[in-house]
């Protein structure tokens, strides 16, 4: 749309035809002519976006009242605004408003009558937990904000709305605790959000890619979650959340690498149990991308580190495999990725069948056929399981991708390749910064205080959080 504002015309007809033209004479744009007190009035609304009963109750009923009143006092039961700008009218129409024009009045009314079709609040499927709140965000920003507000009833909770996109606009909310979040971070987030110049924002992923520091990095730099409790926990710790209207995902930032390994369950378990599970998850990070590389390096370079008995066992099962270990591994990883992707899009019942076919039938047959060895199957299976242990789906995928370069390095230089590959990886992680915060925080730079809630979880009373900004100072 080129003109940013358009003053309304004198007659209803002109106004309506302008609107119809602007909306391409779409068939669901309804124009209803009524007479009020002898004045000709026109209601314009998009049928598919408005709630018929609301229209009936809050708009048509008052309008058809017999006793004449001033227009401005008529719409008391719903939100009503006055405007003379037709462009604004169009915007409002697209958001489910009803416009009311009346001859002789040089302004029109914007009446809020949008229809709401909302999913019920359920627990997000890929972030289910054992204990704790079982609700999740849905596709409505106001409901999501409601969920957050209900848990954080503090005056410090700040919400800032922004309109994103040029052709279709989406409402985005930047949410933070005023006394906890660092000013610098909030400033950066807002300026980046305002600089987004995409025509339309379809997914939260768009926002993420537009505002992250290192788009060339494999690692996700925003935590994506659909859990209100998870979001709240981060808000309370001074992080900032970004939510789009119509998307149940909250982007949390700035986050460190280790945030992707935490779940709300950690805080509901007893702290020793939670520490143990967290350490298991850290181990899974190591296993998930190193195990195939270590295996490849061992069988193709350093077989001498195998204990003798294992040496013979592995050698025995390798004898019939015709491929070099790298090819063997890649083959199996490919099969695994195929199965995973196939199972992902299918309904869960069929998905299970895929699992059985893949795991049992192919797994057994491929060894019997002599294409792949048993140890390799074990290695790849362990890797796969480990990569699913990571609570964040994005991080899990990133880590799964990481094994391929490492496998190649291992097949070229053995253990040295692995250690150099890891060095590059960790150099990269050290380099990453998220809104000025080091990404690999309690490890690099090394802050031992941060370890209390990273690799293990200390009892809650030791994790006391200091307020970063005094709440007396306001913007």
């Amino acid at each position: 749309m080129n003109a940013s504002s358009q003053e309304m015309f004198d007659t209803n007809k002109q106004n309506v035809s302008f609107l119809q033209q602007a909306l391409q004479h779409s068939d669901d744009l309804l124009v209803r002519e009524i007479t009020r007190d002898g004045n000709a009035g026109v209601l314009v609304y998009i049928e598919s976006l408005t709630d018929a009963s609301q229209l009936e109750k809050h708009v048509l009923d008052p309008l058809s009242q017999s006793n004449p009143t001033e227009l401005s006092t008529l719409f008391t039961t719903i939100q009503a605004k006055e405007s003379i700008d037709l462009q604004q009218g169009i915007k409002s129409l697209l958001n489910g408003y009803t416009l009311y024009f009346e001859d002789g009045i040089r302004r029109f009314y914007l009446l809020e009558t949008p229809s709401h079709y909302e999913r019920s609040i359920t627990e997000p499927e890929n972030e289910s937990i054992i204990r704790g709140t079982h609700n999740g965000f849905i596709e409505s920003l106001s409901v999501n904000l409601h969920l957050i507000r209900k848990q954080v009833n503090s005056p410090e909770l700040t919400v800032r709305y922004y309109e994103l996109g040029k052709t279709t606009t989406r409402k985005a909310a930047v949410i933070y605790m005023h006394n906890q979040a660092e000013e610098e971070v909030v400033r950066k987030v807002i300026s980046r959000i305002q600089r987004i110049t995409l025509d339309h924002i379809m997914f939260t992923g768009f926002v993420q890619e537009m505002i992250e520091d290192n788009p060339y990095s494999l690692f996700p730099q925003h935590l994506m979650t659909e859990r209100p409790d998870h979001t709240n926990a981060y808000l309370m710790n001074g992080h900032v959340a970004i939510m789009l209207d119509g998307d149940p995902t909250a982007l949390i930032l700035p986050v460190s690498f280790f945030a992707f390994y935490k779940t709300p369950d950690d805080y509901n378990n007893r702290w020793m149990v939670a520490s143990f599970t967290r350490l298991t998850r850290m181990l899974s990070f190591i296993l998930a991308f190193q195990l195939p590389a270590i295996y490849i390096a061992t069988v193709s370079f350093h077989s001498s580190i195998l204990p003798l008995k294992l040496f013979f066992t592995v050698q025995g099962s390798l004898t019939r495999v015709p491929f070099p270990p790298l090819i063997e591994a890649l083959l199996l990883e490919l099969i695994f990725e195929l199965l995973r992707e196939a199972g992902l899009r299918l309904p869960s019942r069929v998905g299970q069948t895929i699992g059985i076919v893949g795991g049992l039938v192919i797994g057994d047959a491929i060894v019997k056929a002599g294409l792949v060895s048993y140890p390799m199957i074990i290695v790849v299976a362990l890797t796969a399981i480990s990569s699913f242990l990571i609570p964040s789906y994005e991080m899990g995928s990133a880590v799964r991708l990481l094994r391929f370069p490492l496998m190649i390095a291992a097949s070229l230089f053995g253990f040295l390749g692995i250690s150099f590959g890891l060095a590059i990886l960790f150099m990269h992680l050290c380099k990453l910064e998220s809104y000025g915060k080091p990404y690999f925080e309690p490890l690099a730079p090394l802050t031992l205080k941060g370890w209390k809630d990273t690799f293990v979880r200390f009892p809650v009373w030791t994790l006391r959080q200091k307020t970063k900004r005094s709440n007396t100072r306001r913007e």
Binding site: I305, F413, L416, S419, L422, K431
Partner: protein, 363 residues
């Protein structure tokens, strides 16, 4: 240098310095010192540590007089734009040469112990790429990685400490077999291994700490390195007799090899890759220092290209010497250059600054 923001803390300085100090030489040092000082090797190391401490103090005194400036800027200020630049170039050359030296020794060891038939240039290229990958970043990233890499000292110390199982106190006695003079000469060789503290000259303005803290963490770093070397050397002396050490150019690896763990055999195969990471850390520090020197000369704020340049030159130098005698020569050159650049020039600068300061006061 336009990028004058202070970027590392005193603690990060500590890790940066120990990672620069501890590199290739940790594997060779017991062999080298034993050749000269024998049972007194431990004493040699402590003496070397003390000498280093004196040098650190001297550098600190010099830098303290020019707050917010590093050696390059001091040189530019004192020696004039032309002569100062020549000096900076020679400093950069010194750092590049040390880097090349590290690369040569490291690839040599890997070539001998781990990847016997991989061509050397491939290993050199690997080292160069890794060095470039990190050296082009800002100092705080270097410091972060060095801090992280310090976690690798834990397995290193454990591995070496495991060698105490085979320790016999008789192996290292008598302490003073070679006499004091030899022990002092041994200290000279050790000083070469402790190099790396001179990085202070380059990074001084980037440290977010007061002078006292800086001196404190330099001292801590130097003591750590000295005691680490002392530990390694003493373990090797306890585990091997002098005659055995003579036969082993890299006693630490032999020590690893002689261990038997139950989960995996051959600790040396695991040890060498871990150790090569600490080597890369010290290589990176030198490349970074050289690159910073170049960017000071050309008054560029970005040292990205210069670190590529430094790495390439190091690679080229490391690529040339193939014979052991050429390597020896390079070692010697690096050693004498170090005397000039680490001891002599800073001392002269310090004296000049003292005199000029006195003059000012006199007026």
């Amino acid at each position: 240098m336009a990028k004058m923001e202070k970027t590392i803390t005193a603690r990060q300085l500590f890790f940066l310095v120990i990672q620069t100090q501890i590199g290739v030489s940790v594997l060779k040092i017991p062999h080298k010192v034993n050749e000269i000082a024998r049972g007194g090797s431990g004493i040699s190391i402590i003496i070397a540590g003390l000498i280093t401490q004196a040098l650190i103090l001297m550098m600190w005194l010099l830098l303290k007089k020019y707050p917010g400036k590093n050696l390059y800027q001091i040189l530019l200020g004192m020696a004039g734009p032309i002569f100062g630049r020549i000096l900076i170039v020679s400093y950069a050359a010194h750092f590049i040469l040390l880097g090349a030296n590290i690369m040569i020794s490291a690839t040599d060891i890997i070539h001998r112990w781990l990847l016997v038939s991989t061509p050397k240039w491939v290993l050199l290229a690997l080292f160069s790429y890794l060095a470039y990958f990190l050296a082009r970043e800002k100092l705080s990233v270097l410091a972060r990685f060095d801090t992280l890499a310090c976690l690798l000292f834990i397995p290193l110390v454990l591995f070496v400490g495991y060698g105490l199982n085979e320790a016999h106190i008789e192996n290292m006695l008598p302490l003073l077999e070679q006499g004091y003079f030899k022990i002092f000469t041994g200290a000279k060789d050790v000083t070469l291994a402790i190099y790396g503290f001179e990085i202070l000259l380059v990074v001084y303005p980037f440290i977010k700490a007061d002078n006292k803290q800086i001196l404190w963490s330099m001292t801590a770093a130097n003591s750590f390195t000295t005691f680490f070397y002392l530990f390694v050397v003493e373990v090797c002396l306890l585990a091997f007799s002098h005659d055995q050490l003579k036969l082993m150019p890299e006693p630490v690896i032999y020590l690893m090899k002689s261990m038997n763990f139950y989960i995996f055999d051959r600790a040396d195969i695991v040890f060498v890759p871990i150790w090569s990471i600490t080597t890369i850390c010290s290589l990176v520090s030198y490349v970074y220092s050289a690159a910073l020197g170049f960017s000071d000369i050309f008054k560029k704020s970005n040292h990205h290209l210069f670190s590529a340049l430094s790495v390439t030159i190091s690679f080229a130098i490391a690529f040339v010497p193939v014979t052991p005698s050429a390597m020896e020569k390079l070692d010697k050159i690096a050693e004498y250059m170090a005397y000039v650049f680490i001891a002599l020039i800073p001392l002269v600068l310090l004296l000049i600054s003292l005199i000029s300061l006195k003059k000012k006061e006199g007026r």
